[in-house]
């Protein structure tokens, strides 16, 4: 286990196996499938699920309040007309990106270590997108009127949405992303669902997994079609990793507001998305592998590689911060300079410097090998990065809006109780969905893990 590794001299990353020694086709299948089918549900599952479910009830209360009273219950008002709704939307969408990167890009690059974590990371993507979508749907407080500008359909107003607005591009980007991610995830699940169907002993689970596995028998032709479909979906998903958050960043970059109107936004948002996504994968998987004893499958090597991805993307993000400040100075535009100066020393200075601490300084600990191999510290850093990435959106959105060109229209913004309960509620929704996922579906891809153990390489399908 990882803690044992740290006591000895740590071998180079490449020498640490992706799957711990001593695993066979049988142990892999039994271990992962039994979590769903046979193992007694651990107490911590009930604890985590309850926390998530209670927060989810808070979300329902927050939504009811919003529907009855309107968005006056939120803190948004002129000059800060965009607040928690878009901050949290971007935060959730960003988190989803790691799942797609792991499942699509690393698949095309044949990175075998992805196999242990792609299932859970893709589930995380889907649930994060679900949380994110609540915000555009509810942010007007009148969701039954929200449809016509979200989706172009022949409505009774005889109007189309504004196709020149990045907000409508966003709808297409995110819905494409959600659809492709869901298809990708489900396609990857089919062989494992068939394994669960075959191993299930009770009638009802057998029936449900049977229906979901679409009659998968693991024949050569099934595998051939599966490989083609999965490759095509990976190809489709790959551009989405870059395009979705690029379009999200256009929501800001296409406007003319100092602090938003910056050409560096697309790459720096994409890097930030992957950064936060990997942080969330670590936040979820580190406790999970401890609780379910999955250290043989999610090894120290996985943690190490993910930490390195975080370090790299963290630096791109930090470079983005530096460039924002540099360009503001170099442009010579007083408004641009003011926004950056106001960010650093204005009333929201605490948010900016906390952001630099969380996203800039703390991740530098990941240079140290020992840190990358110590799950507890890695977990703490991942939480810090999650907070930092939330603060990043808070700083970009609030500080750019609250003091614009005219001092007479300056104001302050803070989230109300209902903003916070909505936000915590989406975390509750996320946790609830994720706990249900680990209870009813194999959280690690069984058939892909079989290809990594001795005897699995040539005929992974013929267990």
């Amino acid at each position: 286990m990882a803690t044992e590794v740290t006591r000895q001299r740590i071998p180079p990353t490449d020498e640490i196996p992706i799957v711990a020694p001593g695993q066979s086709l049988k142990t892999v299948t039994e271990k992962i499938a039994d979590i769903v089918l046979r193992l007694k549900t651990p107490l911590s599952w009930f604890f985590g699920f309850t926390v998530g479910f209670l927060l989810l009830q808070g979300l329902l209360v927050a939504i009811m309040m919003l529907l009855f009273k309107g968005i006056g219950v939120w803190g948004v008002n002129m000059p800060v007309g965009w607040g928690f709704d878009i901050i949290n939307f971007v935060w959730w969408i960003g988190i989803g990106h790691a799942g797609t990167l792991i499942s699509a890009i690393l698949f095309l690059f044949r990175q075998q270590w992805r196999m242990s974590i792609n299932r859970a990371a893709e589930a995380m993507t889907l649930f994060a997108v679900a949380c994110a979508l609540l915000y555009p749907f509810f942010h007007t407080g009148r969701p039954w009127l929200a449809l016509y500008w979200l989706l172009p359909y022949p409505n009774a107003m005889g109007m189309w949405p504004q196709f020149r607005s990045p907000l409508i591009w966003d709808v297409f980007a995110v819905s494409t992303y959600g659809t492709v991610s869901a298809l990708f995830w489900f396609t990857g699940l089919i062989p494992d669902l068939a394994t669960l169907r075959d191993r299930a002993t009770k009638r009802v689970p057998k029936f449900i997994y049977g229906v979901l596995s679409f009659g998968w028998r693991g024949s050569a032709i099934h595998w051939r079609r599966y490989e083609i479909a999965y490759m095509l979906l990976a190809g489709l998903s790959t551009p989405l990793v870059l395009s979705v958050h690029t379009v999200v960043s256009f929501d800001f970059a296409v406007s003319l507001l100092p602090g938003w109107h910056a050409t560096i936004f697309p790459p720096y948002f994409v890097a930030g998305a992957i950064f936060s996504g990997f942080a969330m994968v670590l936040t979820l998987l580190i406790p999970l592998r401890a609780i379910y004893g999955l250290q043989s499958y999610i090894t120290a090597r996985h943690l190490d590689v993910m930490a390195k991805v975080m370090l790299a993307t963290g630096w791109i993000v930090f470079y983005g911060y530096l460039m924002e400040a540099f360009v503001a100075w170099y442009s010579g535009v007083q408004y641009e300079r003011f926004v950056i100066w106001n960010r650093m020393t204005g009333p929201y200075w605490w948010a900016f410097w906390a952001l630099i601490l969380c996203n800039g300084l703390v991740p530098q600990l990941l240079w140290i090998r020992k840190v990358r191999y110590t799950p507890v510290i890695l977990f703490a850093i991942s939480i810090v990065v999650n907070i930092g990435m939330w603060l990043e959106r808070y700083v970009i959105i609030v500080t750019s809006l609250h003091r614009d060109f005219l001092p007479s229209s300056w104001g302050m913004y803070s989230g109300t109780m209902w903003d916070w309960s909505f936000y915590l509620g989406t975390i509750g929704l996320f946790l609830t969905l994720f706990y249900l996922f680990i209870r009813v579906l194999p959280m690690i891809s069984i058939f892909e893990m079989r290809t990594l153990v001795p005897g699995g390489q040539a005929k992974a399908h013929s267990e």
Binding site: G158, M159, K206
Partner: protein, 219 residues
């Protein structure tokens, strides 16, 4: 161990996949259709009024001009509901003792207005002005239908925004000469394709761009 599924499960699975797709398409069609139905818009529905006043009789039968009662239609936003006195101009002489008209006489005696029920009710966020439409040659009939054939009055159009825009986007398809505005059963004297653009020029009707600007109607 017995099989979980019988062979017919395959057919059922295929049917479900196709059926789910069709269901989504059908639900979309249903919502789009329901949204425009009379049930939602209130069109073609008779409304109970305090007196069964017949436009068919007064307009179609007697040939009274719209503006005899709706006096401000060419000068103001509101077309005007006539006061009881307008009714009594004639009904002190004809049908003066009809029990059917007792509520009118009661209103005349007491000064209490008759409480007519509004038939064409636009939402409050829409600014609508009758006078500009009359001045630019939009016939009463174009929006209100064949009033001269309605014993009890009802809304004939959806009053939905797409319906407003149908004309605002292409007014030349609907305008008529000013002297025919109140005519019922109007037929263009020459082809509308020629007359329409001519009237748009003559009456200085604004461009479609201006007519479809948000703030033209949502002020």
């Amino acid at each position: 161990m017995s099989q979980t599924f019988r062979p017919h499960a395959n057919a059922l699975a295929r049917f479900t996949l196709v059926g789910a797709l069709l269901l989504v398409v059908f639900l979309g069609w249903l919502l789009i259709t329901l949204q425009r139905s009379d049930f939602v818009t209130g069109a073609n529905t008779n409304i109970e009024q305090p007196i069964q006043f017949s436009h068919a009789h007064h307009v179609g039968g007697l040939g009274i001009d719209c503006r005899y009662c709706h006096t401000s239609v060419d000068q103001a936003a509101f077309a005007n509901i006539p006061p009881t006195k307008t009714c009594m101009n004639c009904h002190t002489q004809i049908w003066a003792t009809s029990p059917f008209l007792e509520p009118v006489r009661a209103s005349f005696r007491t000064g209490e207005s008759l409480q007519w029920v509004r038939v064409h009710n636009l939402p409050d966020f829409v600014y609508f002005n009758h006078s500009i439409h009359v001045a630019k040659g939009v016939g009463c009939e174009t929006c209100h239908g064949r009033i001269d054939e309605m014993p009890g009055i009802y809304q004939t159009q959806t009053l939905q925004m797409e319906w407003c825009l149908e004309c605002h986007r292409a007014p030349e398809r609907f305008v008529r000469p000013r002297d025919a505005v109140t005519a019922m059963g109007y037929v263009p004297p020459v082809a509308q394709a020629e007359l329409g653009p001519q009237l748009v020029r003559d009456y200085n009707i604004a461009s479609a761009q201006q007519l479809t600007s948000c703030s033209t109607c949502h002020r």
